[in-house]
Symmetry: C2
Subunit: 206 residues, 2 copies
């Protein structure tokens, strides 16, 4: 059985929702960030990066959300979570997820994780101040150029949708008003109502 290591409030939710959407049989293991458990020897043996998520499979351990999402889509292909038979359409899915991972998540991370890239408190404060601007710019681009509607890729619900929902959850804490982006706000609302999303959120809160 698959086992997902997660922490509440992190991007691990995207893979968690995808597993639920796929109807996968999975176990959960919560990592306590307040106790710095992600950097414990036991967890570093799972994921030497000291981050979540990590997905334990019978073949080995996978990390990195875009890779895990594609893995879920391919492993549970009957769930139809990605256009697996169309290299171009699949690349569009992956491009969107890569943008979330390498640009949007990174913009957000500068609010609380400035120590990854700088040393001075003044730099951390500077980075933190810019987060509403950078996250706002990312979501303006998503709204205007990327989100086709009703789902990210159009009529087909894909692994882009749980990932966008996960990161859109962070907007309020980043002082960005989701209602400035009507398509994103509508997407967020419809995602909130899906059974798989409710299941994952309830499991993470348990």
């Amino acid at each position: 059985m698959l086992k997902l290591y997660f922490a509440p409030g992190t991007c691990a939710l995207a893979s968690h929702i995808a597993l639920a959407e796929a109807g996968a049989d999975y176990a959960l293991e919560k990592i306590d960030f307040k106790a710095n458990q992600q950097n414990s020897a036991a967890y570093l043996a799972i994921n030497p990066k000291g981050r979540v998520p990590a997905l334990v499979t019978e073949r080995g351990i996978l990390t990195e959300t875009p890779a895990m999402l594609a893995y879920v889509a391919q492993s549970f292909s009957r769930a139809g979570l990605a256009p697996l038979e169309d290299a171009f359409a699949f690349a569009e899915v992956q491009s969107f997820n890569s943008y979330l991972c390498s640009t949007v998540h990174i913009a957000h991370a500068h609010k609380m994780r400035g120590h990854r890239w700088a040393t001075e408190e003044s730099s951390f404060a500077d980075m933190k101040r810019k987060v509403p601007e950078t996250m706002g710019a990312c979501f303006a681009l998503i709204e205007q150029k990327m989100l086709r509607g009703p789902w990210v890729m159009g009529e087909q619900y894909t692994i882009c949708d749980p990932y966008l929902f996960t990161i859109a959850q962070w907007l309020e804490g980043d002082s960005v008003d989701i209602n400035a982006f009507p398509k994103v706000a509508d997407h967020f609302q419809r995602m909130s109502e899906r059974a798989a999303v409710k299941k994952a959120l309830a499991e993470q809160a348990a």
Copy 2:
């Protein structure tokens, strides 16, 4: 015919090498960063993010290196650039590339692109000072936990290899000694000798 938008010295080299390895028929279009051409109206119509690379296909335009690399591997499957029939092995490839994109490239970007995440000159200088440490830590992890040898994924050359080579090229400018990482240094040397790598580098220098 495929057309790759690139700028010399950027991560576009990874997709360029992959196209050459695949034996693809492709055209090149150089974007002049010194003239800020990446933010011209004409280029923003190609890629509204104002970044390279972008790959024009007959179906539309793709961006984001990990997505483009997987697209090349899938579109030219006879070149054997990824384990396409094995969802777990493919996810390992994608996980490595996602790490390069969202952690290693980002660490490097703090040297010259601090303005993306902060406003003050003092923050830019602080970020710049930390780059040798962060890039060194990334490559220590690659050396110790990721690069299987002789290629990233072991015996099979994959789309991980041109991407690692591309980012390893930046180490010297980032004041990190590649020789501190013997497997990475060996990989870099062997990559330099490949015909596809020589071809791509020559085309970018032309």
